[in-house]
Point group: C2
Chain length 429, copies 2
């Protein structure tokens, strides 16, 4: 063999940090890109919102009013506070918390969508090797955030009311037995119309979860309860449920987050969170370093829309009726085309954007599976359930999928479910 050539650097690209080199592509990004690229495909995958109910009139009106105001206009176009607009924080606190709203607004930070907060919170509370407990299934974008940080996710069994407190306690006892309890830093929940399962936790279930966390915090380091309330306002049936803080959760270890992406507009992109100290200060410092605060114009716009009950009018008059019809269209189509297939399971979600479907157990829904390919051929796209399960804890349910009724029209939802049912039947033969 000849001698190895001397190293040549003239074509060498920049080298990446270990973290950047290891970052996988987000499955959701690909699915979203597919959906944007291929308008013929009926995408029941992307978590986009309904286009026709986006608040164009409200945005036009309030940006117009703001910009006409000689002091508010320039203020909105200037840098804001790193914590976010104070008056908006107060309005959010009054809207979502039954009491102590002033305290809540002081403990609040605004962000560019609540996704940014999920990432920052995780970074500020955890090291690689720490553990997050989450529902099985859970929000898959959060699982990607955790992978990115080298944090382990452990799935906890759920039923139609969300995470089971007994299963949570069992998981904690197991982790204690393994000497890993000290590594458990966060319990992540989507307590309203969760993504992907559509379940909402009733007050009693929330109290049972709090009881588990209280016992844990008495006997060891507290576990942060991270309640992601993204879908709270998207309720189509029944009464609102109080959030954890209003149910007496200990503020010392409770984090509530929310967003105006689902109930108003993801293009405006304002998220919020309420945090205990010292996390609040740590997040504020981090936010100052990484982006200097979220866009002030977006915050001022949401602030003005919240001023006069216009968000509630929009929810009552436009958004909830539109989504209720779509939800009904999806559930009816599922009843008609899928229910007759032996082994199919789904619930009617009382809100949110998703129906969680189980197809008969021999079938597998994963990307690239025969069923997946058959659906693409038929012209319908779903999110494979496998994306929504942590790698540890409760087993992956390989026969599940997330169906979103947010984007498509009622007709296309019905058509999509029919095409899906045909693919399922064909694969079962």
């Amino acid at each position: 063999m000849s001698a190895a050539p001397l190293p040549s650097f003239t074509d060498e690209p920049l080298s990446l940090s270990r973290q950047a080199a290891a970052a996988p592509e987000q499955p959701i990004s690909r699915l979203m890109a597919d959906a944007l690229d291929n308008p013929k495909l009926i995408s029941l995958a992307a978590g986009f919102v309904d286009e026709h109910s986006l608040p164009c009139e409200l945005v036009k009106k309030h940006v117009g009013l703001l910009m006409r105001d000689p002091s508010e206009g320039p203020r909105a176009l200037q840098y804001g506070l790193a914590a976010g607009d104070l008056e908006l924080r107060q309005r959010i606190a009054r809207r979502y918390f039954a009491d102590a709203w002033e305290q809540r607004s002081e403990a609040m930070l605004l962000s560019t969508g609540s996704n940014q907060l999920l990432h920052l919170i995780s970074e500020c509370l955890m090291e690689a090797g720490d553990i997050v407990l989450c529902a099985a299934p859970t929000y898959f974008v959060y699982l990607a955030v955790l992978r990115d940080l080298g944090v382990e996710a452990v799935g906890v069994d759920c039923d139609a009311q969300g995470m089971c407190p007994e299963a949570l306690q069992e998981n904690l006892d197991d982790l204690t037995a393994q000497g890993k309890r000290q590594r458990v830093k966060i319990l992540y929940l989507v307590p309203y119309f969760d993504n992907p399962a559509g379940a909402t936790m009733p007050a009693e279930r929330r109290e049972a979860i709090l009881e588990v966390l209280r016992r844990e915090a008495d006997g060891g380091p507290p576990i942060a309860l991270l309640a992601d309330n993204a879908y709270r306002d998207l309720r189509y049936d029944g009464q609102d449920v109080p959030c954890f803080l209003d149910l007496g959760a200990e503020p010392r270890w409770t984090i509530e987050t929310g967003t105006f992406s689902k109930n108003l507009s993801p293009g405006i992109r304002v998220g919020w969170g309420v945090f205990p100290e010292p996390l609040h200060t740590a997040l504020l410092r981090r936010k100052s370093v990484i982006d200097f605060g979220s866009p002030h114009l977006s915050q001022c716009l949401v602030r003005e829309i919240l001023a006069d009950d216009e968000l509630d009018q929009h929810l009552c008059d436009v958004l909830r009726p539109a989504y209720r019809r779509k939800r009904d269209a999806m559930v009816e189509a599922c009843e008609r085309w899928l229910r007759p297939i032996d082994g199919v399971q789904f619930e009617n979600p009382g809100g949110g954007l998703y129906v969680w479907l189980k197809v008969p157990a021999p079938l597998v829904t994963s990307a690239g599976s025969p069923l997946w390919e058959a659906c693409i051929r038929n012209g319908v796209l779903y999110v494979p359930g496998e994306f929504c399960f942590a790698s540890q804890g409760a087993a992956v349910q390989a026969n599940t999928m997330r169906l979103s009724f947010g984007v498509q029209s009622e007709n296309r939802i019905a058509e999509g479910i029919k095409l899906l049912a045909e693919a399922v039947k064909a694969e079962l033969v």
Copy 2:
């Protein structure tokens, strides 16, 4: 001594990650908060923009037009691509690059202000212990980003044309001699009207810097040239200079970033960057994980403003005349009140938002110094120069300060400089 009590967890707060626990408060956040809290103080510290030239009319008009358009309105309020609006990327590429604009737009990502990119780039290219070369003085917020990542910053001597190529080469040779050359990952420059020194690199100086980087990339792993063009459009005298890519910088290791925060509005908050592979893909993945893409409404708004030369009109008719007057007011006041003091130095910046002032060497400008306290008593605030120096390389110039003419009126600028000069004279006695 009695036995230690058993550990009690009932009042224990959530514990922070090492990174979060170590994060110091950003000095700029405190200065900005001071400026916002205390309207009587003449703040020549905050890097805010001029309030009266913010484009309220343009924003009102284009949000109105967008929201009236039945397809563009809902699109603007929907999620966008993680990379950012394609048409806006194309318009930015056409605006700032003389050729290859299509390639540039494909290699571009949009962000929430360019600060977000500075952070993401640094995270994707470096590990703790890596090294960034930067000007002495340099943009202090970027120094905070580097501290946060555990990256070492090494300051390189500058003159009125920006970083000196000979000093750069010397620093690199020193680092090579110390066996640290492989840890040098980024050369950070603010080549137009830099923050804080106000210097712009002429084309020849840029070419000399490129020559150093080319030699380094031939003999070793390439160093990323990170050119932060935040102030390029804020030129009040003379002709524009081509950016590094247009001067033939190797795209494989060149990064150009820019923002619409300074030339349009920091409240809209749209930044951009052009990146080589594999960095571009890594950043895109990271952006998808951490915030899912920046606000689409902001991007659509900037896209529309860029469509019809309206940004250039705004720059020519409003922004440049307003800042030119302010710059003149500051320079004239400095000539009148400060120049007569023996040992004072400053240059007339041809653009940007800052005058870099040296007071006589025995004086120290640091926060809490007698001069600082005297200025606060007199009612004027500046950014101490010490914040703008890396902890390694070129020595801290303790007798410097950054003076911003962005926010205050011409009268208040003149008054502020007079108060500052009085404090300097009093401290010299």
